[in-house]
């Protein structure tokens, strides 16, 4: 795969859920591509199908129809184990609820994807340390999630997503459980990773000021992509600036 080829290429993706005799079309023919080094925000109201789209992009689920090439590999028809393999090799997840293993140190949480890869424990440790340092938590290796603030937990989650060197980082409402100041911290890290390391990021959010930090904005509505625009001047996330305006934007 060359950099010119899209990391994500979805063509005519459909997803139908069946509840008893009722069919529900969550996605009705979506074409969606993400190029290498893109920072895409995916927005849309709840029930629009954006969660379904994200589950498909993240190989957590399989489309009912259509073709999905992830980093050049057709992943649309893979079984559960093969999708696990694809997630492990190609995708890094950051979730709204952090989803760290409780009572497990930050270091071990970050090591987890590598453990399922069969990486040696020494190399796992080194890479996990490196990833935690990258998100500014080099001094919190032994802390368990309950000993970390929400923002720190989300940074551990980002480190866990980065440690495998994924083709895409998939962030699903990563600031949804955070106050505005820590949200800015997380967004700042994502922007930095995008800028400095050329990381491809797909960020799902329903908040406009979060979406504004991306360089491209996609809106999903009624199972279709309603708009797909370049963001001319992405907002630069800044926790310090946010602190001043928190009276205005804190409630979001």
């Amino acid at each position: 795969m060359t950099d010119a080829e899209p990391v994500i290429r979805m063509e005519g993706i459909e997803k139908v859920y069946r509840t008893g005799d009722v069919l529900f079309h969550a996605l009705r023919g979506v074409d969606f591509s993400v190029n290498h080094g893109d920072f895409v925000a995916v927005g849309g109201p709840s029930g629009s199908g954006k969660s379904t789209l994200m589950n498909l992009v993240g190989c957590l689920d399989r489309p009912s129809a259509g073709r999905y090439l992830l980093a050049g590999h057709d992943v649309s028809m893979l079984d559960a184990d093969a999708r696990s393999f694809a997630r492990n090799r190609l995708i890094g997840f950051v979730f709204q609820g952090f989803n760290l293993l409780a009572r497990t140190s930050a270091l071990e949480n970050v090591e987890l994807p590598l453990a399922y890869r069969g990486t040696s424990s020494r190399e796992r440790r080194d890479r996990a340390r490196e990833a935690l340092a990258l998100v500014g938590l080099g001094d919190k290796l032994a802390n368990t999630p309950s000993q970390l603030s929400g923002g720190q937990q989300q940074r551990v989650a980002i480190a866990r997503a980065l440690v495998t060197d994924p083709k895409v980082l998939l962030a699903d409402e990563p600031t949804g459980n955070l106050d505005s100041r820590t949200s800015e911290e997380v967004l700042e890290i994502l922007q930095r990773l995008h800028r400095e390391r050329g990381l491809t990021i797909v960020l799902v959010t329903h908040e406009a000021d979060v979406a504004a930090c991306a360089s491209r904005s996609v809106i999903v509505r009624d199972g279709r992509i309603a708009s797909d625009t370049r963001v001319a001047n992405p907002r630069v996330a800044s926790p310090s600036a946010m602190a001043e305006s928190s009276a205005a934007g804190g409630g979001a």
Partner: protein
């Protein structure tokens, strides 16, 4: 994969120590029960075997008197209807008989120096040792010559020796039996306890003629019982019939009347005892197995709880690349670890409890390594069987659902 699963299993169990301990307890009790019951059953079987061989070789036991309870009759052995002539006839006329020993016994005080001891003095022939499969640990048996002259020669049992001589060698010493001085010519090898608690070694054996003439002072040829050793095990029933027929003929018993003697096949009695034992052991063992089964269900139960509690964890693991086999291994190994710990602890407890019980109740116990291996393998197997269903349930979770699980 398995190494990682083992580490995860141990960590998870350590996090829920009480819960893990209670689950382990279920398996532990089951395994301990199986181990202890097997040991007790095997022990009982061994002791019955030992008693059978202590009784003698293919032994028929002839008593005077009938066993029948119809009509007014004396108890078995109450009327002296057997004599040494009967004994000689059995020996002479029945080909299937290997050896015959008439027995006339008397209770008596035996004295050596300043010590004395009350025991049973058995008068018989030199064949007595052969019939009872008894050997001498020292000295010689008395001889046919002693028999003819009512010789004052005797053999003492281990218990009698301990009472009179402590550890000293009694052979060649002279003891007094009642008022009769008597030389010890041999020491009987120890036989131990009988099936009903009697001590076989608490006895003195001497020529039947000497017992009759010097201790009982009775004329005639009456004996208390006749012991008959049959040539082969499979001839026992036939020999029993032949002995009966011969004695009926000798005692001139009309066809309609009952025997005035009883022929008992003690091997049959022991076989019945053994059957009872094995039925009882099977019963106890099946109860123990039920305990083990319940323990296994406990493992399954707790694993299901564990899987449902950790649904989100499973989702996280799957999201970052765990395959269904990784998850399966994680929970299966956890279940196996639980029950294996229970198995090892149960084995230790079972051995301890079996030994303690055996000691307290004076039962013999025998631990076989096979039973230990089987118990351990079974507990591991229980982990696999009862852990598989919950583990598979975990492995088949949908990562999206699992991640959404609260």
């Amino acid at each position: 994969m398995w190494w990682m699963a083992l580490r995860l299993a141990l960590r998870s169990l350590l996090r829920n120590k009480l819960r893990a301990a209670l689950t382990v307890l279920g398996i532990l009790i089951g395994v301990a029960a199986v181990v202890a019951m097997t040991a007790l059953g095997d022990g009982a079987s061994t002791s019955i075997e030992r008693q059978m061989s202590a009784l003698g070789v293919n032994l028929l036991w002839v008593f005077p008197g009938a066993t029948s309870t119809s009509g007014v009759r004396g108890e078995v052995g109450s009327r002296p209807t057997l004599s040494e002539d009967d004994s000689d006839a059995i020996s002479r006329e029945l080909f299937n008989v290997q050896a015959v020993a008439p027995v006339l016994s008397v209770s008596s005080q035996v004295v050596y120096g300043s010590r004395n001891y009350a025991t049973r003095v058995t008068g018989s022939t030199p064949d007595y040792l052969r019939v009872r499969a008894w050997t001498l640990s020292r000295g010689q048996p008395f001889t046919d010559a002693d028999q003819r002259i009512a010789g004052r020669a005797c053999l003492v049992g281990e218990t009698v020796r301990r009472a009179l001589f402590d550890t000293a060698d009694p052979v060649g010493q002279t003891i007094r039996i009642g008022r009769v001085p008597c030389q010890i010519v041999g020491l009987l090898a120890p036989k131990g306890q009988g099936s009903f608690g009697q001590d076989y070694d608490d006895t003195v054996v001497m020529p039947i003629s000497a017992v009759r003439a010097r201790l009982k002072h009775t004329p005639g040829r009456d004996v208390d019982q006749i012991l008959v050793s049959v040539r082969e095990q499979y001839l026992m029933a036939r020999a029993q019939e032949q002995v009966s027929a011969l004695l009926r003929q000798r005692h001139r018993i009309p066809e309609a009347e009952e025997n005035d003697f009883t022929v008992r096949n003690l091997q049959d009695l022991m076989a019945t005892l053994e059957r009872t034992r094995s039925t009882l052991s099977a019963l106890l063992l099946s109860i123990a197995c039920i305990a083990l089964l319940v323990g296994g269900i406990g493992v399954m139960n707790i694993m299901l709880v564990s899987v449902s509690e950790r649904t989100r964890e499973i989702g996280i693991r799957m999201a970052v690349g765990a395959r269904s086999n990784d998850i399966l291994a994680q929970f299966l190994v956890e279940a196996i670890t639980l029950s294996a710990i229970g198995g090892v602890a149960g084995l230790a407890l079972g051995v301890g409890a079996g030994a303690a019980l055996g000691k307290a109740m004076e039962w013999s116990v025998r631990f076989s390594p096979v039973a230990a291996v089987v118990a351990l393998a079974t507990s591991g197997g229980i982990g696999v069987v009862f852990g598989f269903f919950p583990a598979r349930r975990a492995a088949q979770l949908d990562p999206i659902q699992a991640l959404r699980h609260e």
